[in-house]
């Protein structure tokens, strides 16, 4: 049985703030869903490799579609940059504005 504290711990790991009634609801939901997952205990998987993708053919343990590519930056057009900037919730000049990063103190912020 999953506890309320565990539900709260998972929510913190997932960066989701929950209301009290949500904690209760998810505690109940997770209990029944995790119990349903126990059906997998019946299956013998000795010697079976995990399947990590849906590539339908494999070569050397990788999907057949696998092909590496050089990971290099490319310059976006001004137009595209403008579109992406316009989606930022808070902008300062050409920069994205975010709340202060260190969270041990609540003293000063440049946002909110």
């Amino acid at each position: 049985m999953i506890t309320k504290e565990q539900v709260q711990h998972i929510a913190n790991l997932a960066h989701i703030q929950l209301q009290e009634q949500e904690v209760e609801r998810f505690q109940k939901d997770f209990a029944s869903i995790l119990e349903y997952f126990e059906i997998l205990n019946e299956v013998d998987v000795a010697g079976i490799d995990p399947m990590t993708h849906s590539g339908t053919e494999e070569k050397k343990g990788r999907p057949a579609y696998w092909r590496g590519r050089e990971d290099k930056p490319r310059r976006e057009t001004e137009e595209r940059r403008g579109k992406l900037l316009s989606l930022f919730p808070l902008v300062k000049g050409k920069f994205l504005q975010v709340p202060q990063v260190p969270w041990q103190s609540g003293k000063s912020t440049n946002n909110s």
Partner: protein, 472 residues
């Protein structure tokens, strides 16, 4: 009307693209099923006008030119809103275009708007939309299926000639079945996912909805193919196992798809089709897919695990809902707590749990191993049959609200569709008749027939689906 017939009418000037688009837009304006989250009348009419001009200039136009379509709101159409039916993306406007949409646009298809869905594709009824549910056009007290319910409802209500959806565990096939139309989940890797809002990357695949197998085939052939922007796509090379004479068609009927939980009326509709296929000369073989009963558990572990990683990006920093907070940590917690819906939170948390220290082996790794066993079941079955046949869903369209309090009851609706995504296979849902459950004088509730084939053998699905359209 079939796309081919509309195309003939366009080039013979019996109808204009403007008239076609206006007809759909007017229907959308008057409907009460809430199939669309956004409609762009001006842009649609401008696109249609360009097609009419090309026809007037006696240019050769593509078969899709001037055909009105709609796109699930998880697929980016440049310049149009793209919300994935989530409050957190309420004001997001697509800064670029999905590859599948680019391909349709290049053929001159006319984009009417974006269709409703379960938030981020999480659901089987389209009730999990932050902007309100879509209703089934056949009976508005019932759900259209999900998650691509708006796309299916738009086609069934003749608000759109065809639509694109996205299928992670049944999100195209289930709504197609519930709305009485045709829907295809293509082989994994055949349609680009570039510009598609990810739910579970090893399961997601874009596919078409239309009112006939022929139309679905046409759309699929337009959107498929390798794309440099999606490393999982391949050059589409058909692997056809059946062609032509129905006497050569070997149909596998898995015992496990007619098990406990199946509505007897749905079973009867599907068995009727099997009987007709046999009478027409097809070879019906009973087969076994012994790991089927584990598929739903495997699916929900893998789906939630991948979703928890994919949806980490919705933190309200670069886009999405930003709630004022003092620190970054508090901002994340609030943006996600307020911006995401109940089912989305439930799945992100389940996935976070399944991947967390101490539980990874028991859930995620175990699920991946059983996933391989499920795939091997299919490989073995396809040694002796060309196509596997069963019901798309164990139930008929249910009433709004009926399954919203019990997440497991909602998950069970997907029981026959999820194994296909886990194995990366293609599958088609075609109408198999109807069940009388409505007051006398009204049409019955539709039943969907589910056809599964080998990877890259969509052709066998289309051929079998066309035979079923003729004999049903």
């Amino acid at each position: 009307m079939a796309i081919r017939e509309i195309h003939e009418q366009l080039i013979n000037k019996e109808v204009s693209a403007i008239e076609l688009a206006s007809r759909c837009l007017d229907r959308i304006e008057q409907e009460e099923i809430h199939a669309f989250l956004s409609v762009d009348r001006r842009s649609a009419l401008a696109q249609a006008k360009a097609v009419d001009a090309a026809i007037a200039n006696k240019e050769n136009i593509s078969i899709l030119a001037g055909i009105p379509c709609s796109i699930k709101d998880a697929i980016l159409v440049e310049g149009m809103p793209c919300t994935a039916a989530s409050k957190t993306l309420e004001h997001y406007v697509a800064p670029y275009e999905a590859t599948c949409v680019q391909k349709l646009r290049a053929q001159g298809a006319v984009f009417l708007g974006k269709t409703n869905m379960d938030e981020f594709g999480m659901g089987a009824s389209t009730e999990n939309s932050a902007f309100g549910p879509t209703r089934n056009p056949i009976d508005p007290s019932r759900v259209p299926g999900g998650s691509s319910g708006g796309s299916a409802a738009a086609v069934a209500a003749q608000e759109s000639v065809f639509a694109l959806g996205e299928d992670t565990g049944g999100s195209i096939r289930l709504p197609a079945a519930f709305c009485g139309i045709v829907g295809l989940k293509p082989t994994y890797g055949s349609v680009s996912r570039s510009g598609v809002i990810s739910l579970a990357s090893s399961l997601d695949q874009v596919g078409p909805f239309a009112s006939s197998v022929e139309d679905v085939k046409l759309i699929f052939e337009t959107i498929r193919g390798r794309d440099a922007n999606d490393a999982t796509t391949v050059e589409y090379a058909p692997a056809v196992s059946f062609k032509g004479n129905i006497k050569n068609l070997r149909v596998g009927v898995p015992q496990e798809y007619f098990a406990e939980g199946l509505d007897p009326a749905v079973e009867k509709a599907v068995r009727d089709i099997i009987g007709k296929l046999e009478k027409a000369g097809a070879k019906i073989r009973e087969i076994r897919l012994p790991h089927t009963k584990y598929a739903l558990a495997v699916y929900y572990i893998i789906n939630t695990s991948e979703a928890s990683a994919n949806l980490a990006r919705y933190d309200g920093m670069r886009y999405g809902l930003r709630v004022p907070a003092k620190t970054l940590e508090q901002s994340y917690l609030k943006n996600r707590g307020e911006g995401l819906g109940t089912e989305v939170k439930r799945r992100i948390m389940l996935g976070t749990y399944a991947l967390s220290a101490g539980y990874y082996d028991a859930y995620y790794l175990k699920a991946q191993k059983v996933r391989r066993l499920l795939k091997q079941d299919f490989e073995k079955a396809f040694e002796s049959v060309d196509v596997i046949l069963g019901p798309t869903s164990p139930v008929v369209p249910f009433k709004l609200g009926e399954r919203m309090t019990d997440p497991l009851a909602m998950y069970l609706v997907d029981i026959y569709t999820v194994p296909v995504n886990l194995a990366g296979l293609p599958a088609l849902s075609v109408p198999a008749g109807s069940v009388d459950r409505l007051p006398a004088g009204q049409a019955g509730l539709p039943v969907g027939l589910h056809l599964i084939s080998k990877p890259f053998d969509e052709q066998t699905l289309f051929e079998t689906g066309t035979i079923i359209e003729q004999i049903r």
